[in-house]
């Protein structure tokens, strides 16, 4: 049963890929820069942004999709729907949002929506054809959330590209991210300033094929 469902799954995946319905998900912990990267990709290839960004974690609390993005690199074209997901976390405390400057009511609302967002992001894992895991290169890459997300993608046979974002900051350590996930392609970039995006697009082609 497992074998046949896997076989049919991959056949359908291939069929949809050819028709450009490939779903490319952006996953990662909160405040790693998923939406900033999504905005950069959309700005580069569609001329418009995708969503709001904020210094307060859990700004993206709903799945957002931008359809029919066509990126080009070295004469090849890749057509996909970009799925920006809420950051995955194991704890959410509304008091942290109050500390970040929100009023109590807004903080509680944000916390409630953020928990819903994490659940939705996990549910959507199954639907992805390829995933870009966005990590903050200034933070510890060995956090269990990162390992769990990547482990799940591996178990589902979903192609993964790991990005070490925020390389414009002094504390960024791309090598530490590479050491944590040696079996994956890791691209260091700054989504905010568009640094190394060319290499990101080229590697994306390689990973998605």
């Amino acid at each position: 049963m497992g074998f046949f469902s896997k076989l049919f799954g991959s056949l359908f995946k291939g069929w949809f890929k050819k028709r450009g319905n490939l779903k490319l998900g952006l996953y990662g912990p909160p405040n790693a820069g998923k939406t900033t990267l999504a905005n950069k990709i959309c700005k580069d290839w569609l001329g418009e942004e995708m969503g709001a960004v904020s210094k307060i974690p859990h700004e993206t609390r709903e799945i957002k999709i931008k359809e029919q993005i066509a990126i080009k690199s070295k004469g090849k074209e890749l057509l996909f729907n970009l799925v920006d997901t809420p950051g995955i976390a194991t704890k959410i405390d509304y008091e942290d949002f109050i500390k970040a400057g929100l009023k109590e009511k807004a903080a509680k609302k944000r916390a409630k929506e953020a928990t819903r967002g994490v659940i939705d992001a996990i549910k959507w894992l199954d639907d992805m054809d390829a995933v870009v895991v966005v990590l903050d290169a200034t933070k510890d890459p060995y956090s269990q959330v990162n390992i769990t997300i990547i482990g799940n993608l591996q178990a589902r046979d979903i192609p993964v590209l790991v990005t070490a974002n925020k390389i414009d900051l002094k504390k960024a350590k791309i090598k530490k991210v590479q050491a944590a996930f040696p079996q994956y392609e890791v691209v260091g970039l700054s989504a905010k300033y568009g640094t190394n995006l060319k290499s990101f697009y080229e590697t994306l082609f390689k990973v998605v094929k």
Binding site: T90, D93, A111, I122, Y142, Q154
Partner: protein, 132 residues
């Protein structure tokens, strides 16, 4: 004071995925740190995060999670094969899983060889609980 409860793998091996998660989460919700022998399956780890999110409320803020796994890269080909076979038959008993309630554990810092647990100040915790 911090309470650590050790759960041998035999205590969860007969349970369904959701049963395992419920058991571990119920202990964490009593403000105890769970030390589980072995690890959950990858899918169960995400399910644990999902269920944790569903349970978050005024008193329960979530968990800190860390899995310590003996590095597979240090094993020889034969050892890896043997360990994979044992895992298939007996479940994943290797390594250790730490689940700390976010009310008690501020952060778990991990690198491949060591694990550091930063707990919250118990006086502050009590003050907060009184406020609620």
């Amino acid at each position: 004071m911090v309470t650590i409860q050790f759960i041998p793998y035999t205590q969860i091996e007969g349970l369904s995925s959701l049963g395992k998660i419920r058991k571990l989460l119920n202990i964490a919700k009593q403000d105890k740190i769970v030390l589980l022998q072995g690890r959950l399956r990858k899918e169960e780890e995400t399910e644990l995060i999902k269920v944790t999110m569903e349970e978050i409320n005024k008193e329960f803020k979530g968990i800190e999670l860390a899995v310590i796994n003996p590095s597979a890269t240090n094993l020889s080909g034969m050892q890896r094969l043997r360990s994979g076979f044992a895992n298939m038959l007996l479940g994943n008993r290797q390594g250790m899983t730490v689940i700390g309630p976010a009310n008690v554990v501020k952060q778990i810092r991990k690198d491949p060889n060591k694990i550091e647990l930063f707990t919250k100040d118990s006086k502050k915790r009590k003050k907060k609980a009184k406020k609620r």
